[in-house]
């Protein structure tokens, strides 16, 4: 279970602390998914990164499976992220120097028991429809294809939590549709906790739980 409790995030600025999140709480169980919407600069991505153990909150707690990642040492935190969290960014963030298959396998480089993962990587790439592009470099792929590789990479270690930051933001409508469908299909298959931050209403509409960030606080969508 992911539990975000009363999280506040402030950034220093010349005119005093700038509050981006204030008292945000959210709880999701395994297999549940939520979309978070909001205008630019509302703190959506910040909340996502806090949930993903990438940026510590100013106040409040985050636990995943009962573990508060911000209380563990850096080395263990890296391992925690590696094993428990998968990320998909708006900009796919693939390593240009690696092939499609290698990009999917990059997280396994720092994981234990690496022997099983090449097969899983091929399987995931087959699931996202890229089984015939294993040796290609990111530069040889379209935007949608790159994002599908990023999705496969995010799921390679069977994370409990899958976090997606505008996963379709850079894609055309058809590609966005395909990536969204894949995302939800794989989520359902893998039974992850899925949080998607998006501006895309069509994508958000696919989620039963939808939230909106306004004035640094989280509200159920439409409330």
């Amino acid at each position: 279970m992911l539990e975000i409790s009363n999280v506040t995030k402030q950034y220093p600025s010349p005119r005093g602390p700038l509050t981006v999140l204030s008292g945000v709480s959210l709880a999701l169980n395994r297999g549940e998914a939520a979309a978070i919407m909001g205008p630019s600069g509302s703190g959506k991505s910040t909340l996502l990164y806090i949930a993903g153990a990438l940026e510590p909150p100013t106040a409040g707690t985050v636990t995943l499976g009962g573990v508060n990642p911000y209380t563990i040492p850096e080395k263990e935190l890296a391992a925690f992220r590696n094993q428990s969290i998968g990320f998909v960014f708006q900009d796919h963030c693939l390593l240009p120097q690696c092939s499609v298959l290698e990009n999917v396998l990059v997280p396994t480089l720092v994981a234990n028991d690496r022997a099983a993962y090449p097969a899983r990587a091929r399987d995931l790439l087959r699931q996202v429809g890229l089984e015939d592009r294993l040796g290609h470099r990111p530069a040889e792929l379209s935007g949608g294809e790159k994002q599908r590789v990023a999705l496969a990479r995010a799921l390679i270690l069977r994370p409990a939590l899958l976090l997606c930051d505008e996963p379709t933001g850079n894609l055309d409508e058809a590609s966005a549709e395909m990536v969204a469908a894949l995302l939800l299909e794989l989520h359902a298959r893998q039974q992850t906790i899925l949080i998607v931050v998006t501006h895309n209403l069509a994508l958000a509409a696919r989620f039963s739980s939808r939230y909106e960030l306004r004035h640094a606080t989280l509200h159920p969508a439409g409330a």
Binding site: L54, E55, A78, I85, F89, Q97, V106, P107, V110
Partner: protein, 987 residues
């Protein structure tokens, strides 16, 4: 997928940046390895040269005088220094050769060819010291006419370790022995094996001693070829357990009583029944008493010559007649007197040919009759102590030692007791000495490491810079890896591994660079920087140790540079990295200011140290302080308002302050070196009181007087040139002694422990002798202490000691061979011409003092030129770095530039903007370097008369500025060439 797969992918994908890093490491490796290789090559070159010149000679037996040529198994030769034609300082060797050979260098100087006649002047061997009564000062040179048989090419035999061409003449040994009247004798034996034990081989004759058997009285008489027995030999002879009688016989110009005198009489000082009982008593033989009309108790005066203060002086001593003995028995012994050439063999008094003035008018028939009948029989006797007091010299104070009874064992006992080395017969391990000397007075490896320091520093800064650019390019990649679960340390390890691979590959490539760099530097030393080495015989000796050293140092420094670059990345959150946050610049501006102030304080303190320290420490610290202040300013939050294109461009300087500071540092450090070195150049020295200096190949005792000209003569003990003109490490430097009245009272001080106070030229002391002021050291068994150092002096290459100490250490070294000459104003040239013409037989070479100093400065200036050239290369690297950074900045801001073009900026606007930024960096670097150099070198400049080579410096800095602006313009133009739409689309 393995970590090394990712590593390989990274290395291949970012090949451009990695290649730049690799080249940076290769350059640093190459420069360091090349510098070490230069040192090794110079040492190897010197070693090969000296070994080729020594042939298979391992050691030599040598003596200032001559000895039997079959003293030991070896090759007998005569080795001298002489004058050929007007060429002084020529090595003269008597060897087994059928014809006269001269080296190509000497032939060139003489303009001589085979078949030409040449005149050779060499010191005439004489056992009798020149600075004694019987020394033949006016006949000290032997002139020999020779015909050149052959001009000999390299390698030429030489015993003198020197990197320059050998200027030598090789004369048939028998011919030289004949002309020097030394049949069967030589002064050097070449040994091809380990040193021999001379004690087993030498005879008393080899060290100038002989034992005569006398019949009346029956005894042995120990005598010396020099007519005076040295004190150490006398002590040894008298401590062997035989009954001995020491004797000193001297020539009195007159034995006088009232109006009567007996001219040119020998007087013997001894302790026997002939001697008077009192020191002021004198015993006359009855012939003398009769001639003088003297009775017991009458006053008698002895008049005699003594050698004092470089001239013969007539002195007198009063005595009272204590005894009158019959001219018979012991009193009629002509063997009290040693052999004096020109005197003892003369048939009558008027035939005497002594080396001192004789007044023949004082000689009467009775005196001739005495000579005819009694020859050298003394006419008077005094006590030995009194005789020694009057006539003792530094060469000894006995003319013979008689041994009673005539033991057949005395000669062997004395031979066994004597140390031949104390008598001047020594074995010199020339090969090992030459090998030690070949290690070099100047460690060129060390020098070129210093000279190349800024080149290396630039290369390493570039290495760090390129690596940093590469990492900045991959900031988001680091963020992705962090979000995927890579720990900061693992990412650091990954990058360090990349750096290690690049460092190893760079170091490998650097070996090739080192070979190239070493070859180029050696080419420079043979050509452009010839004055620093004075030889064209240096070539590259590729050896593993310097290359391994360079490679290891390149790897370590390259990796350190990479590690330094990576030191901060872990302190950023993955999110910040994903957003492309800068990895650098966490130290607060105030922290930089504090560090800058600290550096400034240390720089101020360093200025109180000596000049060299002031330059290296104060200058470097000033530079660091300035860079820290600039860094603080660039990292400050507040920026000036943007009111113009230039201001907009200058705002960009703060965009990546780390890069900007690095650019400034590269340019500033190179400028600092170049500007500083110019301030250290020595062009001319202010005229001193002695406009001329002179060297005499053969010792001069009497210098012909010239009106208005004053000579300050220096005694010289020949040795190795310890000046910067000699690359070999001097094993036994030349020693000079000024006359007693000199401006250096420290030379006369008595030091605890008995060390001899010495003064050295500061440069010779530091760079050739590798000594410090106050340091004690031993040379040929004698301890010296450097009590003072002279700046920029004509005494470079020698040690100065007092005349008293000199004569004690080298009693056999006679005459003067170095002179300071004061001339009337405007007469220096005329005096030089006159002296050169009058004393050319002595190899007297007169040179303007300014020219002598200029020859030393030339070496120093050549070193500075070398340093400057390599500093210039560093500056070139700095400019390359600047261009790379500018290109990178321009490419990164491609979108920004495209946007500005889209909103109506013209290319020239953008060029103005970018140039403003680049010119600012360039000028900051140039001015920082120049100002720091000005402060750091101010003490040195002021000490040299406040001369600043402003013109050459201004030209140099202008060239640097022009190069920098050109590279900036190219970088900007390249960035502006990218299509507008592509750049905008990527936005």
């Amino acid at each position: 997928m393995r970590l090394y797969t990712l590593l390989a992918r990274n290395l291949a994908w970012y090949w451009r940046t990695n290649l730049a890093v690799l080249l940076g490491v290769a350059t640093a490796t190459g420069v360091l390895g090349g510098a070490a290789l230069v040192g090794d090559s110079v040492r190897a070159g010197l070693r090969d040269l000296v070994l080729a010149r020594l042939g298979n000679t391992v050691s030599i037996v040598t003596r200032p005088g001559f000895f039997r040529q079959d003293l030991a198994a070896g090759t007998p030769i005569i080795a001298l220094e002489g004058v050929v034609g007007h060429e002084a300082g020529v090595e003269v060797y008597g060897i087994e050769t059928p014809q006269v050979l001269i080296t190509a260098a000497l032939a060139k100087d003489l303009g001589a060819r085979p078949g030409d006649d040449i005149l050779l002047r060499i010191p005439k061997p004489s056992s009798i010291p020149l600075e004694s009564l019987h020394g033949r000062r006016d006949d000290a040179i032997r002139t020999i006419r020779l015909t050149v048989g052959q001009v000999r090419d390299l390698p030429s035999f030489s015993l003198r370790p020197q990197q320059g061409d050998v200027r030598a003449i090789y004369v048939p040994l028998a011919r030289l022995q004949r002309d020097l009247n030394q049949p069967g004798k030589v002064n050097t034996l070449l040994l091809t094996h380990a040193p021999v034990d001379l004690k087993q081989h030498y005879t008393l004759a080899d060290v100038g001693l002989r034992v005569r058997t006398l019949d009346n009285p029956s005894c042995l008489s120990l005598e010396a070829d020099s007519a005076l027995i040295g004190d150490s030999v006398a002590t040894a002879a008298q401590s062997l357990g035989f009954r001995t009688q020491p004797i000193l016989t001297y020539l009195a110009n007159a034995v006088r009583m009232h109006q009567h005198e007996i001219p040119y009489s020998l007087v013997t000082a001894l302790d026997s029944n002939l001697a008077p009982a009192h020191d002021d008593g004198i015993t006359l033989n009855d012939w003398a008493a009769r001639e003088l009309g003297a009775n017991i108790g009458d006053p008698v005066t002895l008049e005699y010559y003594v050698w004092r203060s470089d001239a013969l002086h007539t002195e007198t001593a009063p005595f009272r007649v204590e005894r009158i003995v019959p001219l018979a028995g012991d009193a009629a012994d002509p063997n009290f007197a040693p052999d004096y050439p020109g005197i003892t063999e003369s048939r009558n008094l008027r035939d005497w040919d002594p080396p001192f003035p004789l007044d023949m008018s004082r000689i009467h028939p009775a005196d001739e009759q005495y000579w005819n009948r009694y020859r050298t029989t003394p006419k008077a006797f005094i006590r030995l102590a009194r005789g020694r007091e009057l006539w003792g010299t530094r060469f000894g104070s006995l003319t013979s030692i008689r041994v009673f009874p005539p033991s057949p064992h005395f000669a062997e006992s004395l031979r066994a007791a004597l140390d031949p080395a104390r008598a001047g017969l020594t074995v010199v391990p020339v090969r090992s000495q030459a090998l030690a000397a070949a290690r070099g007075a100047t460690d060129f490896g060390e020098y070129f490491t210093y000279f190349s320091f800024f080149l290396m520093a630039s290369a390493l800064l570039l290495t760090g810079l390129f690596f940093r650019l590469g990492i900045e390019q991959r900031t988001r990649e680091i963020g992705v890896l962090r979000s995927l679960g890579f720990s900061a340390s693992r990412i650091r390890t990954l990058f360090l591994l990349e750096g290690a691979v690049l460092a190893v590959a760079g170091a490998g490539a650097g070996i090739g660079v080192a070979l190239f760099y070493g070859a180029v530097v050696l080419l420079g030393l043979r050509t452009w920087w010839f004055d620093a080495v004075g030889t064209r015989l240096l070539s590259l000796h590729a050896s593993i140790p310097p290359l391994a050293l360079g490679a290891a140092a390149g790897m370590v420094t390259g990796l350190a540079s990479v590690a330094w670059t990576l030191r901060r990345h872990h302190s950023f959150t993955p999110r910040a990295l994903l957003a492309g946050a800068f990895l650098w610049g966490r130290l607060a501006a105030c922290g930089r200011v504090v560090l800058g102030l600290l550096a400034l304080l240390l720089a101020s303190l360093s200025l109180f140290a000596n000049q060299t320290a002031a330059f290296f420490f104060a200058g470097t610290l000033l530079l660091i302080a300035a860079l820290l202040f600039q860094s603080a300013w660039l990292h400050a939050r507040k920026s000036p308002a943007i009111g113009s294109l230039v201001a907009l461009g200058l705002r960009s300087v703060r965009y990546r302050p780390g890069r900007s500071v690095l650019c400034i540092a590269l340019i500033a450090s190179a400028t600092f070196v170049i500007a500083s070195l110019d301030a250290f150049r020595r062009d001319a020295s202010p005229p001193g009181p002695f406009p001329l200096v002179a060297d005499s190949e053969l010792p001069l005792i009497n210098i012909p007087p010239l009106e208005g000209v004053q000579f300050i003569p220096f005694r010289l003990h020949p040795g190795d040139d310890a000046s910067c003109l000699n690359l070999y490490q001097p094993q036994n430097p030349r020693i000079l002694a000024p006359p007693p009245r000199n401006p250096w009272p420290l030379l006369d001080s008595r030091l605890p422990g008995g060390a001899i106070p010495a003064i050295a030229d500061a440069n010779s002391m530091t760079y050739s002798l590798h000594r410090k002021l106050g340091e004690e050291f031993e040379l040929a068994g004698v301890r010296y202490r450097i009590v003072a150092a002279l700046q920029d002096s004509v005494f470079q290459g020698a040690l100065l000691i007092s005349e008293e100490n000199f004569l004690r250490l080298f009693p056999d070294t006679a005459g003067y061979r170095f002179f300071l000459i004061h001339t009337p104003p405007g007469k220096a040239d005329e005096v030089a011409r006159t002296l050169t013409a009058a004393l050319s037989d002595y190899g007297f070479v007169v040179q303007p003092t300014a020219a002598r100093l200029a020859s030393f400065h030339k070496v120093e200036n050549t070193y500075l030129s070398t340093f400057r050239a390599l500093g210039g290369l560093g500056l070139l690297l700095g400019t390359v770095g600047l261009a790379a950074v500018l290109m990178r900045n321009a490419l990164e801001r491609r979108r920004e530039l495209a946007l500005l073009r889209a909103v109506g900026y013209r290319p020239r606007h953008l060029l103005t903007m970018v140039l403003a930024e680049n010119v600012f960096l360039l000028l900051m670097g140039l001015s920082t370097g120049a100002v720091c150099a000005a402060f750091a070198t101010a003490p040195a400049v002021l000490a040299r008369g406040g001369r600043v080579p402003a013109a050459s410096l201004a030209i140099l800095l202008a060239l640097v500025a022009a190069t920098g602006i050109a590279s900036s313009s190219l970088a900007t133009a390249a960035a502006l060439r990218s299509p507008l739409l592509d750049a905008l689309k990527s936005e």
